[in-house]
């Protein structure tokens, strides 16, 4: 069994998904829910948590079974496992709150098609020990949730003048309607990507300058 990296669980195992390989801002995976359900902070949070649960459960199970899944049928197996946990989340959200379920709509079921989850199963869970896969999935899920919240918060504040449903600016605020329309999703995502790329380049430049000085 080929393995990538060593077998120890480090802070890096977890934080990889938070920053260096953030699924949304770095790998640009799972863009469908990122753009579609981030029109309010609460939707973004619920979607992030639901995806995190699927990521954790499928990652752990696939990692447990990784030695007994033949290579030829691995994708089919992963999809069945992921679909199972998506169905479980679907029922769970209906049981928790019908309003939330109605707000998220078809995007709960579409978690199954989120390439981030299948990508993690194929690239990580199938090659690492369960605990390590679980830790990594936790980081990836947290990174995904934070990214969704980044978009959801900006879009809700600008587009509806509220945050988590709490009115921020009073009745005299004119909401930027475009922010809660699909176009707003692209604009906000673009702005965040721009910011992160600028930070990254600035950091590299500073490191180069520091290296040149010494």
């Amino acid at each position: 069994m080929s393995k990538i990296g060593n077998d120890n669980i480090t802070w890096g195992t977890f934080s990889e998904g938070l920053w260096r390989d953030n699924p949304v801002f770095v790998m640009l995976l799972g863009m469908c829910p990122v753009l579609a359900v981030t029109n309010s902070a609460i939707n973004a949070l619920a979607m992030g948590l639901a995806t995190t649960f699927v990521l954790l459960a499928s990652g752990a199970l696939i990692s447990l079974l990784r030695h007994s899944i033949p290579k030829q049928v691995r994708i089919a197996t992963y999809i069945v496992i992921i679909a199972t946990f998506v169905t479980i989340v679907d029922y769970a959200i209906q049981a928790i709150s019908l309003d939330l379920y109605n707000a998220l709509g078809a995007f709960i079921q579409l978690i199954v098609a989120n390439c981030m989850i299948l990508g993690r199963a194929e690239a990580y869970a199938s090659r690492n020990r369960p605990l390590k896969s679980f830790t990594n999935a936790l980081g990836m899920g947290a990174g995904f949730t934070i990214a969704l919240l980044c978009l959801g918060v900006v879009r809700e504040v600008l587009g509806a003048g509220s945050l988590f449903g709490i009115d921020l600016f009073g009745p005299r605020f004119e909401p930027w309607v475009v922010m809660i329309l699909p176009a707003g999703g692209f604009i906000v995502l673009g702005a965040w990507l721009l910011l992160f790329e600028w930070l990254k380049q600035r950091k590299e430049r500073l490191e180069l300058e520091a290296a040149a000085e010494t």
Binding site: S2, N39, S40, L65, S68, I69, P70, K71, Q72, V73, A76, T77, V80, I81, A83, T84, F85, T87, I88, Y91, A92, Q94, A95, S97, L98, N102, G105, G159, A160, P175, V177, I180, L181
Partner: protein, 242 residues
């Protein structure tokens, strides 16, 4: 001998047995998990849906505190009980404390901007008008299409929206229509929302379709609903079914 190339070469060697065993095992495991979750959450989900409908019924029928479920079909109005799930258009009759019929709630649906909008509306037989609507499900753009719930001026359309029948009782006297914002003149017109015209039109269309289909059948049966408030001996309800 563990380079990727050799692994690719070895792949055809895997016999069918383990593959079938894996897929079957996974399918059984996933079936078990899904059924388990379904069984665990079913009563909670049903309770949630029942509560959502119940809250909506009391919202669209002002003054109602008790409700009873009926269906309208070829035989007239039939009470729905747990033992007797009758077929037909479901309606929910709302009664006040004294058992007086306050109104009737029914479902309506029409294509909106993003998806079908599902509504519950309250019809009051006395004024032959619609006294309230409640959106059960919508996927309209938040901030625009959902103004059909939040816009006070739009909601005021349903304080008393005329839905009276023609003299023969076979159809609505006037179709319920959504008109351009600010041009409402007749009691059967719905004043649209500027910026959410498609969603507002969908509400008008849904109400018109449902009222046209339901009210001509329902009107002759209203007396039956009046005489059949909830908390009466169940035998009466069963008699009506027969």
């Amino acid at each position: 001998m563990s380079t990727p190339e050799t692994e690719v070469m070895q792949q055809p060697a895997t016999p069918a047995g383990p593959m079938i065993r894996t897929l079957m095992g996974i399918a059984m495991l996933s079936g078990f998990l899904v059924v388990l979750t379904y069984q665990l959450t079913k009563p909670i989900i049903e309770e949630n849906q029942r509560r959502a409908i119940e809250a909506a019924v009391f919202q669209v029928i002002p003054g109602a505190v008790a409700r009873k479920d009926f269906v309208v079909n070829e035989t007239g109005v039939v009470a729905v009980t747990a033992e007797n799930p009758a077929e037909g258009i479901p309606i929910y009759a709302g009664y006040d404390q004294a058992g007086q019929l306050k109104g009737i709630a029914a479902k309506a649906a029409a294509q909106g901007y993003a998806d079908i909008i599902y509504l519950l509306y309250g019809y009051e037989p006395e004024c032959q008008c619609i006294r309230g609507i409640k959106v059960l499900k919508l996927a309209e753009t938040p901030g625009l299409g959902d103004k059909i719930i939040t816009d006070a001026n739009f909601v005021a359309n349903f304080d008393a929206l005329d839905a009276s029948l023609n003299d023969a009782g076979s159809d609505l006297a006037n179709d319920i229509v959504t008109v351009k914002h600010g041009t409402k003149q007749n009691p059967w017109e719905i004043d649209a929302i500027s910026g959410a015209t498609i969603s507002a039109k969908a509400v008008g269309k849904a109400l018109n379709l449902s009222a046209k289909a339901l009210l001509p059948k329902l009107a002759p049966q209203v007396e039956k609903l009046r005489e059949d408030p909830p908390r009466q001996p169940p035998e009466q309800g069963e008699e009506q079914v027969n």
